[in-house]
């Protein structure tokens, strides 16, 4: 599944404008003769010590701090140098750091406001220059610069200062508690000597040819065709990476991707978009889909506020969805088993946003599939059956009598599993007397900004349908999604409470979870929030997509990591 740097919104493909920008940049670079004059690698086949990785689209940059498009991290982790990353179980492990700072080892002060990172001794960048604690400090300076173009919410603004008492130690002092301190430098350290001014970060030459502390360095970038990487001679792990050369080949056509895997011409296949049985049959014993339940949680977002009233706030209530009984009826109308077995097979049912990680909650579905109950609730809510089977208002609390029970499902285009789900929902809703229409828009419209008039931000929708995820440290995302103060308005245009849900108990729970570092206490707060969400239905969680990629049978040493990218452990990959 596609992932995004900004972890809580589905970003399955780069927005069209971004794609165009990439195209223009590509043309410009081509015109300037930017690609190396070395021979092109199209048609190049795998040799000893060399693997081909299929990517469906080209990253615009390898600087993860600019990564709106999910593809960037998938490639960039091969050249990135984080201090620590989450492993496949969600536990952080040190990479460039000698150890994880904790209260026990003295790396973290008892009030959690000071964190001291110790680097491994003898680290070098790929150009041979030493990697020091000053590079950690520079990363903070660069990323937190208001004009750096950073899009990742990593809490850099909470840092008051970074001291570097010696070349190996960086002592970070926080202005306020940052529960996510371990993921602070998860997207890599930037070299002060080989980048540029923070305010010019978007234009750094480094972005496409990074001086790396990761396992690989970019050898050649053939725009529109491939990115060729070779092993970083200064990588900190002795003898690693095991594979000398990795070629990321850009192949947009799914049929061509499968054919390459089936012929053994490629070794790794990012985002195959196919269920396992079918994928494995198609690649004819050459490879297999390696997958685990992933982060992407397919969700219906109900708008509790009246759309198109010129007011992005929570009042007045939505004429149809403002009534909890209608939302409950919708929940009862959905055949959840059919969706995960037949509509989108290979997905895992879930009833909560807190479906994985250390904060996982065992949430039961409050309103299971029961069309009879759905009909009864709609009757009770003042929606009576009309002549064509679709209900009309007769005494409904927020709708004028005679209003048709008609809602629009808003998704984004060009993602077939989402369209299939919507089409199935239209039929399920019709059975209980709800007319649903589908309006899917380009990704850039749905996920546009408040200033651009995105319907999601202005509250001009009935039900949004898309998949979201929670990061390993979810507090910032939860605050911006469920707090009543996170409703997007002109004053708070980046708020993500698009359902316009106002619940004082939820606010209390979220603030309580944000005020402690006790994981058990936080989890308890999140699970009570999960219960509230499942009961009040500002949103309805449906299922998790699997996460994974196609891997050649000749490849070993990899671990699929729902918290990481395809290349998070590329230094461990081996080719027979």
């Amino acid at each position: 599944m596609h992932k995004t740097g900004a972890p809580f919104i589905a970003h399955r493909r780069a927005p069209a404008l971004l794609t165009l920008t990439v195209l223009l940049a590509t043309l410009l670079l081509a015109a300037c003769g930017a690609p190396s004059s070395e021979p092109q690698t199209s048609g190049e086949t795998a040799g000893p010590g060399q693997i081909i990785v299929i990517i469906p689209e080209e990253p615009a940059s390898l600087n993860q701090y600019h990564a709106v498009a999910a593809i960037v991290r998938q490639v960039a982790d091969a050249v990135s140098a984080p201090l620590a990353v989450p492993d496949e179980n969600g536990a952080f492990i040190p990479v460039l750091a000698a150890e994880l700072p904790t209260v026990e080892n003295g790396g973290v002060s008892p009030n959690y406001l000071t964190v001291a990172w110790k680097l491994r001794p003898g680290l070098r960048w790929s150009d041979g220059e030493p990697l020091t604690s000053d590079d950690i400090k520079f990363t903070w300076e660069a990323v937190s610069h208001p004009e750096s173009g950073n899009v990742l919410a990593l809490g850099f603004e909470k840092i008051a200062s970074i001291e570097t008492p010696d070349e190996l130690t960086a002592v970070i002092t926080y202005k306020e508690l940052n529960q996510a301190y371990l993921q602070q430098f998860m997207y890599g350290i930037l070299p002060r000597h080989a980048t540029g001014a923070p305010e010019e970060m978007l234009q750094w030459a480094w972005n496409r040819n990074p001086v790396s502390a990761g396992p690989y360095v970019v050898k050649q970038w053939n725009s529109g065709e491939s990115i060729v990487m070779e092993r970083n001679p200064y990588y900190y792990l002795e003898g690693q990476p095991y594979i000398d050369r990795v070629i990321f080949t850009i192949v947009p056509d799914p049929g061509a991707q499968i054919a390459m895997m089936a012929k053994g011409e490629a070794h790794v296949h990012l985002w195959p978009g196919e269920v396992k049985e079918i994928y494995d049959a198609q690649v004819a014993g050459q490879a297999a889909l390696q997958e685990v339940p992933g982060q992407w949680n397919m969700t219906l977002f109900f708008n509790l506020s009246r759309p198109f009233d010129g007011d992005p706030g929570p009042e007045p209530p939505h004429p149809i969805l403002g009534d909890l009984r209608v939302r409950q009826a919708i929940a009862h109308a959905i055949d959840y088993d059919l969706i995960v077995t037949a509509v989108n097979p290979g997905t895992f049912p879930t009833a909560t946003p807190f479906a994985y990680g250390w904060y996982k909650c065992d949430q039961e579905r409050k309103y299971p599939y029961d069309p009879e109950r759905a009909r009864a609730l709609l009757e009770e809510a003042g929606w009576v059956e009309g002549p064509d089977g679709i209900r009309v208002a007769q005494g409904a609390p927020y709708a004028e009598d005679g209003t048709r029970l008609r809602v629009q499902l808003n998704g984004y285009t060009n993602f077939q599993p989402l369209v299939k789900l919507e089409e199935a929902l239209v039929e399920m809703f019709r059975v209980v007397g709800i007319e649903a229409t589908i309006q899917n828009d380009d990704f850039s419209i749905i996920f546009g900004s408040y200033e651009d008039g995105a319907p999601r931000q202005l509250g001009n929708f009935d039900i949004l349908v898309y998949d979201t995820s929670l990061p390993i440290e979810p507090q910032a995302s939860i605050e911006n999604t469920y707090l009543s103060t996170a409703i997007p308005t002109a004053e708070n245009p980046a708020g993500n409470n698009s359902s316009r849900w106002v619940n004082l108990r939820a606010d209390e729970l979220i603030r309580a979870a944000g005020a402690t570092v006790d994981l058990e206490a936080r989890r308890a707060a999140y699970c009570e929030l999960s219960e509230l969400i499942a009961t009040e239905l500002p949103r309805l969680n449906l299922y998790l997509f699997t996460e994974g990629y196609g891997a050649s049978n000749r490849l070993s040493g990899y671990k699929v990591n729902m918290w990481g990218s395809l290349t998070w452990d590329i230094q461990n990959w081996k080719l027979e």
């Binding site: 759309p307 037949a342 285009t413 089409e423 039929e427 309006q439 899917n440 380009d442």
Partner: protein, 306 residues
């Protein structure tokens, strides 16, 4: 040899046997001699009839059975089933309603705008030509994707568009983005033909601009316009599905040949029937219209051997 109008051609010496019949009957007779065109007419008639009588199918186009998804063609489902177990035969028939409406209407509208602009520009020349052609060039240089995203964004301000208004928007968008090609072709022809003797002759007997354009020059450009039109029908049908990617017009679950094809891409290897049948319908329709155009051109052409 100078060009002749159809009526002049049909009444010149040597064709006296035709004098008795009215022009449209003559054209019709000539058309019937073009065998392929007649067959094409029958095929197009069948395609249109299949769309009109789609409700006679025993399934509805949105009736789902997800547990019976992606079944190959069988006696129960002649064209197989799609990814939600819907009957592809029924969806293809219903899809024809949208696609034919969009393809034919958008083409007609585009030709109407293009022919009028091209006629006026080519006939009057000078400043009028310059202004109209610069406008045409302006439309040709519009960055289509940006314009479409802009329109889609503006449309988002409207609460809910019904299917009919959605289809009308698609027709308008396709016509607005494609009238420039017929305009340039017609203008070129008018520039060429207005120098001919028959135009001078018409002017000398006091014919007005409108009459000269419509009755004397335009009939001589009909063959080119028809060829352009036949190409545009298939273009419009395919463009409609491209537009739905941007959120215009025909949204699922309403089928159109274009969006049936777009969905089929995902299953190209596993369920090729999803692609074959709507593809075949687009192919048949375009070919039929093409041959009908061919027949009409010959029927209108006074020098045709038929």
């Amino acid at each position: 040899m100078s060009e002749l109008t159809v009526s002049q051609a049909l009444t010149r010496p040597g064709r006296r046997t035709m004098e008795a019949a009215p022009l449209r009957v003559l054209i019709w007779r000539r058309f019937l001699r073009h065998r392929l065109a007649v067959v094409a007419m029958a095929v197009l008639g069948l395609v249109i009839a299949s769309a009109v009588f789609a409700p006679l199918s025993r399934y509805t186009p949105t009736q789902q059975n997800p547990t019976n998804a992606l079944q190959p063609p069988s006696p129960q489902h002649w064209f197989g089933t799609d990814d939600l177990g819907r009957d592809v035969f029924t969806r293809t028939l219903y899809g024809g309603r949208i696609s034919l409406a969009v393809g034919l209407s958008a083409t007609l509208l585009s030709l109407l705008i293009g022919v009028v602009v091209g006629m006026v520009a080519g006939y009057f020349g000078g400043v009028v030509d310059n202004v109209l052609m610069r406008i045409t060039d302006g439309f040709l240089t519009l960055p289509t994707l940006f314009v479409l995203i802009l329109i889609a964004t503006l449309l988002r301000e409207i609460p809910a568009l019904g299917l009919v208004s959605g289809v009308i928007i698609v027709i308008l968008v396709i016509a607005v983005l494609s009238w420039m090609w017929p305009a340039r072709i017609v203008r070129g022809e008018f520039l060429r033909l207005k120098q001919r003797d028959f135009v001078t002759a018409a002017e000398s007997i006091g014919a007005g601009h409108g009459r000269i354009m419509a009755r004397h020059i335009l009939p001589n450009t009909v063959s080119l316009i028809i060829v352009q039109g036949t190409l545009m029908v298939a273009y419009a049908i395919i463009t409609e599905s491209g537009l739905s990617y941007l959120g215009f017009g025909v949204q699922p679950p309403t089928p159109s040949w274009g969006n049936l094809l777009a969905t089929a891409q995902t299953y190209a290897l596993r369920a090729p029937w999803l692609m074959i049948f709507p593809g075949l319908m687009i192919f048949l329709t375009s070919m039929a219209i093409n041959y009908i155009g061919d027949g009409l051109r010959d029927a209108f052409d006074p020098y045709s051997a038929r």
